[in-house]
Point group: D5
Chain length 123, copies 10
């Protein structure tokens, strides 16, 4: 798998006194099925409440594009995107939703989320 974490850049959150929600929707995600080598397609939605750092949008595009020729399962890619984004920007809350196109007559959606310990607020 191509190296990924160092593709992500951040910038300081200038409104950290307030809990606010940022959502990025990327409908053009594609990777490869690790079994068959055939392409998979998904819409990735990333929601988070930033703490000190925000994810830079152009670097996020390059990060997502880096999966293009990687063989990786639906469940793995969703959890890995969550792990990588949490590691890079340490948000108060983050949720990843990945909607995969129909394969064998079945479409799939994977949702995973992260919360800072003791963080209760919702938006």
């Amino acid at each position: 798998m191509t190296p990924k974490l160092n593709l992500l850049e951040t910038f300081p959150n200038t409104n950290s006194e307030r809990n606010y929600l940022i959502t990025h929707i990327a409908p053009e995600f594609t990777s490869l099925c690790p079994k068959t080598g055939q392409p998979d397609f998904a819409e990735i939605t990333m929601e988070y409440i930033p703490d000190k750092l925000c994810v830079e949008l152009k670097s996020l595009k390059f990060y997502l594009n880096s999966y293009r020729n990687d063989g990786i399962y639906f469940e793995s890619v969703t959890n890995k995107i969550l792990d990588d984004l949490v590691e890079v920007c340490q948000p108060r809350f983050m949720k990843i939703t990945a909607k995969f196109n129909v394969r064998g007559g079945i479409s799939s959606i994977i949702k995973a989320e992260y919360k800072q310990k003791d963080f209760l607020e919702t938006i």
Copy 2:
């Protein structure tokens, strides 16, 4: 009714430290009406929070296809799919939603769910 449970395969959940939600949507489900022998059609949605095991997608397709020539009622098939999937992958939470096409001018939706004892978390 054709044998079914042994059609389902699983693989280990490599992110079991986290509660995350997997949804599979199968819009091409078909079985037979046990009274008239005529075909019924439904969209089956399966949502679950895996514990140690995930359902393998291709085996899930074969499992659902195995109902094609079985005569079975709406309420029964929904509860049986839930029972079979719970038995095979022992999830923390699972919910089955079956939307059946119009019959006699009426469409029907059946929803059934399962939770591990004392499991409280929702996503």
Copy 3:
């Protein structure tokens, strides 16, 4: 008004150990306005958690069709369908939603529900 209650048939709920939700959607309901005698049209949605009995679908169609030439108000027909279905199948929970077409530039929706005493669970 034509007799109705005896049109409804039931069958035993073979999954009564579990609270699950059955929804029937009937978009072709029609009755008459008791004031003008002109036809009214509605979509009737019936949701319930069965206890010992389920409503038989074909008999439900005949029951709803029996209103075709009855003069009855929006509010009355919604509450009467709820009362009749509760009497016949004694569900743990039931909710009727009736969406009536535009009359005089105004459309109307009536929702009524029933719960067994001390029944708390929702789906």
Copy 4:
């Protein structure tokens, strides 16, 4: 402004033992802007849980039509419809939602609600 309250008629609620929700949706509401005299257009949604009285539908149409040549602000008309309907039928709960068409590139929605003292139930 034309007189309005006496246009509204009621009829007895014959199902007052139960809390049920009545919704009327009027997509053809029109009044005048008090500043410019130009027409405004809105969809008015009225939801309520009746107590002893229900609003008669034809009188509701005449009531809403009576605003046709009145100059009145978005916020005022929404609150006035709520006040008038509450005065006439004394519901357990009532909510008015008014969606106004685009003016100057901006559309507006006003929501106001009323509850009888100590009324807690929701539908």
Copy 5:
């Protein structure tokens, strides 16, 4: 950046005894990307429960239009609109939702909200 706060005008809330929700939806918002100078486009939704003052609609249009040639980031513009509107009309509650068009294959939504201290009610 062009001066903005003095563009906003208010008028007295004549229904301040009641908590009611005003929503303004502006689908024609445009500003410039501070990095590239290229135009950005968004739909801005402003929801608030007024206290003593309401925002005047025409002045709101001029206020939003004043961003047309300003270079400003997605996160900043959303929080600034919230800060400005709160300062001008001191609402009990206010929430801004900004949906930005696709850039680099990714669309973004920013949501930020404000509540008066100890204000609990929701609509």
Copy 6:
């Protein structure tokens, strides 16, 4: 079958110097299946270029409602509505489109049209 033709009324076409097209769309048509006695539902669209007479709208409603308790096939009812309307208002052109709801998993559309001899113009 209830008598029908005398339910239809006409009024003079005051713009007969011009070929213009009138379309009436009636989504609430219902009749009975002559085999099973069960209700059928359709949306009837009537398009015509009037000559000396137009169809009066309220009488058209009563005419369509008169089929409510008649047993009649899809093909017959469409051709009969065309025959009746042509007889009553002698249009330059007329086309009937009847879209019937799903029966046995199949929906049906019937289209029939009439032209005055040597009438060529289309709109």
Copy 7:
């Protein structure tokens, strides 16, 4: 009926060497039913190929608004708008489409068009 023709203003067509199509869509048209006095609502679409003059947009708004309290039939208002606009701007081609909201369960569309003698081109 209020006077109308003098409300319409025009401006010179600076591209008259080319046949091009202008379409104005006015979804907020309202007039009164001449029989019942109750309001009617329609979306008026005006398409034309200008010759020497174009219709000024603001004057068109005032012209359409002037029908607000006039009692006039569907067929008449459509033909009258066509006659008035043709008289004022003498287009090469013009077509009016008026879609009226449901009345008595039936919606109506009226289409009328005008062509300069010997004008053949379509767009």
Copy 8:
């Protein structure tokens, strides 16, 4: 393949003096892939101008259902349905459109039509 042609029944066309168009839409067609044995799903639309005979709707349902366990290619099944229906009811014109669900990320539509020799009219 199961025998099919004798499943189709007809009834006399009582409006044969007129060319009119009958359309049947069957969204629940299913057969098997002859290569893999896996189920295929399609919406079959059948349009025809009847001559002396119409296709009986219930027999059409049984005819289409008879493909349920047959292995047959997309192109073949579309042409075979056309051949069978033409043989049985000898229409003036007939067109079959089969829309197949996504397989391998690609959906397919097959259209085939038949005309009686020298039949020119279209509807």
Copy 9:
């Protein structure tokens, strides 16, 4: 008005032996109303059959963005875009469709097209 024509770039059409159609859809066009100075918004669709040259996409974006602070009428901007693109790439056929957002309750669409002399083919 800012200079524009020199913003447009072209590249050679390598498939000029064939008539094929290129469509570019730009939903984010904005200019200013020459009367009021307020912003206008439109979706511009450009269709053309190239001859020797194609329009370069990035330069087209800069060309359309250059109208951002120009005061120009709906009819003028549509015809000017057509004139400029024809001058720059000399297509066999070109059509511009500009859909302007609601102003004063009325939305507008302007369509203009160009053909090389004696060019007959359509796609």
Copy 10:
């Protein structure tokens, strides 16, 4: 660019006595921008009337997937797919429509078609 033509396979058209239309819709096409190396996404629609050969569906999938890491312009890829498919199956008629996702705020559609000499029929 990876070799492509030998990926495409055909099978004999067993209904060549009839002109019928086959449409394949591939919404998951992706290639690279030859300038920036960034991914492009398109929906490719292929319509054709077969002569002696049909395109095999699985080989078509592999053929389209082979563009995944090729740098190629919108106009070129559309014409190349047409050229390749025509060379391989020699159809009577073929049309390719490629709808490309938004880039720089502009989406693009390219349509190209081929006809056998003297082939006139359309479907």
